[in-house]
Amino acid sequence: MTWPDSIQEIIEEFQEIDDQFERLEVLMDFSSEVDELPVEEWNDSNLVKGCQSIAHIEVTIRDDKVWMKAAADAKMVQGLQGILSIAVNGSTPQTVLELTPAFAEEAGILVSLTPSRSNGFRTMFDMVQHRVKEAIE
């Protein structure tokens, strides 16, 4: 499958790493890509349900572009949010809706995480798409 350049870069970066510990370190580095959702804006509607740690995602659409703000208490979840931000921020709603979470599998990110957190990534991904769909309808 062909991915947008930004996602292809992420896939290649992870594929180059053999050591599991380093892979997780790189994942955590992606936390810096998150446009942080301030604690005072955390609420039930932007809470990611089904994630073992506390995670919030807020999606907005400005000038036909998707932008997400996010926050989480665990660094690895922040890393996943960072990757998700790269995948969606600045894209059109249509592009975001056409995206599949398979890129995370291709990068080997999901196998490097516990099932609960892998599901957490899927949940966050689904939540972003759902919010985009709601916004454009």
Binding site: Q20, F21, L24, A74, K75, M76
Partner: protein
């Protein structure tokens, strides 16, 4: 010390993320020695049949193997009645249904503690919803049960349910004192011994409780099987709550009569292969000197605890002389799940989360902890790899 024993456990030849497995999640479940795996496999490959009714050879072998498990339980733990269940959870639910529902009335008090596993809270809450019993929870102060509060709560109580050894903290509660005091006011006592039987040999009759619940898988046996040991007195007050095959004496369309022994509480085809496996585990563990291992593992856990504190961690386990070798801790800033994933990347298995004890977590003022729990096959080398693993995590997260 643990090295020779690890040879009995095939899983220790496995590598996790390119590193030899260091398994420190024993309070969740223990690994299985070859004899347990072989016993289950041999049952399926050469003796598979249903138990109790048929007269053919295989059925005889299956029945004998399964009942051998019960026989070993009764002799090891000195009890007259051992109902085989799917584990500790089902054992406690069985006590709640088969004894609680028939012997408690609306307004009767049941004493529990804040330290209980969810499996010793929820069945009683469900019973409270059905028959309006009163639940009284003994608070935990500085990691220990508040025994003054216990004395007050005991007044007029009909049943006391206490965890013998905490799965979160490893602390061993003063169960003998609790049982003596409860008996003095004619209250029945249920002990959740899931974390106790792996570490110490319990004499059920000498202990004096009415119910003792535990699981095979925390003592090197298979998952999916456990037991409820029951005193003669309590057994005589119980009624079956699950109906079906194997638990009946006669069935007519007008009604049924039930067996008088433990089978009365074991409706349906039981866990036969698991029974074979548990019997093998019970025989295996009977050759292990639990007391000397307890001392050895406690020393290791104390050393780990000391070093974790030096590295800036908060340790919640007090590791008293009778406690289990469980070290529950948190780091001031690193999320427990991040910690555990980075340890797993180094082949080290630990537990994180609320450990099915959310009320206790609330009392400790944390959302979750990281828990390293040690068992028979663990040794100083595991502790040392674990501590080096911690160092690498701290370095990476600095």
């Amino acid at each position: 010390m643990g090295d020779w024993m690890k040879q009995d456990f095939p899983i220790f030849s496995r590598e996790i993320n390119g590193r030899p497995l260091v398994y420190l999640d024993n309070a969740a479940t223990t690994q299985k020695p070859s004899c347990v795996i072989d016993a289950m496999s041999n049952y399926y490959s050469s003796s598979n049949a249903n138990v109790h009714r048929a007269v053919h050879t295989l059925a005889g072998e299956a029945t004998e193997g399964y009942e051998e498990c019960r026989k070993l339980l009764k002799s090891r733990y000195n009890c007259d009645y051992a109902v085989i269940t799917s584990g500790t959870t089902e054992a406690i639910n069985l006590a709640a249904r088969a004894w609680g529902e028939y012997n408690l009335r609306a307004g009767d008090a049941v004493v529990l503690t804040e330290m209980e596993h969810h499996s010793d809270i929820v069945p009683w809450q469900m019973l409270a919803e059905r028959i309006a019993i009163e639940l009284r929870f003994i608070p935990v102060e500085n990691g220990e049960l508040d025994m003054e509060a216990f004395d007050v709560a005991l007044e007029g109580a009909k049943l006391v349910c206490v965890v013998h050894t905490s799965n979160v903290l490893g602390i061993r509660n003063p169960v003998e004192e609790i049982i003596n005091k409860s008996k003095a006011v004619n209250a029945k006592v249920l002990i959740d011994a899931a974390q106790a039987v792996p570490h110490e040999l319990i004499d059920f009759k000498e202990l004096g409780a009415d119910f003792l619940a535990f699981s095979a898988h925390k003592m090197c046996g298979p998952t999916g099987i456990g037991a409820l040991l029951i005193s003669e007195d309590a057994f005589s007050e119980m009624e079956p709550f699950m109906g079906g095959g194997d638990m009946i004496e006669t069935v007519t369309l007008q009604g049924s009569t039930y067996q008088s022994n433990e089978h009365k509480f074991e409706a349906g085809t039981p866990r036969i292969a698991e029974g074979f496996g548990w019997a093998a585990a019970l025989e295996w563990i009977s050759k292990v000197d639990l007391e000397s291992h307890h001392t050895r593992l406690l020393d290791i856990a104390r050393d780990v605890s000391r070093q974790l504190k030096e590295k800036g961690m908060t340790v919640y386990s007090s590791l008293g002389p009778e406690d289990a070798a469980v070290v529950s801790f948190t780091h001031p800033t690193i999320h427990p799940e991040d910690f555990a994933r980075l340890l797993d990347a180094q082949g080290i298995a630990v537990r994180t989360g609320h450990h099915c004890a959310q009320p206790l977590m609330e009392r400790l003022g944390v959302n979750g902890t990281i828990r390293a729990s040690f068992y028979l096959y663990n040794d100083e080398s595991d502790a040392s790899i674990f501590l080096s693993g911690i160092d690498r995590v701290l370095e990476a997260m600095a």
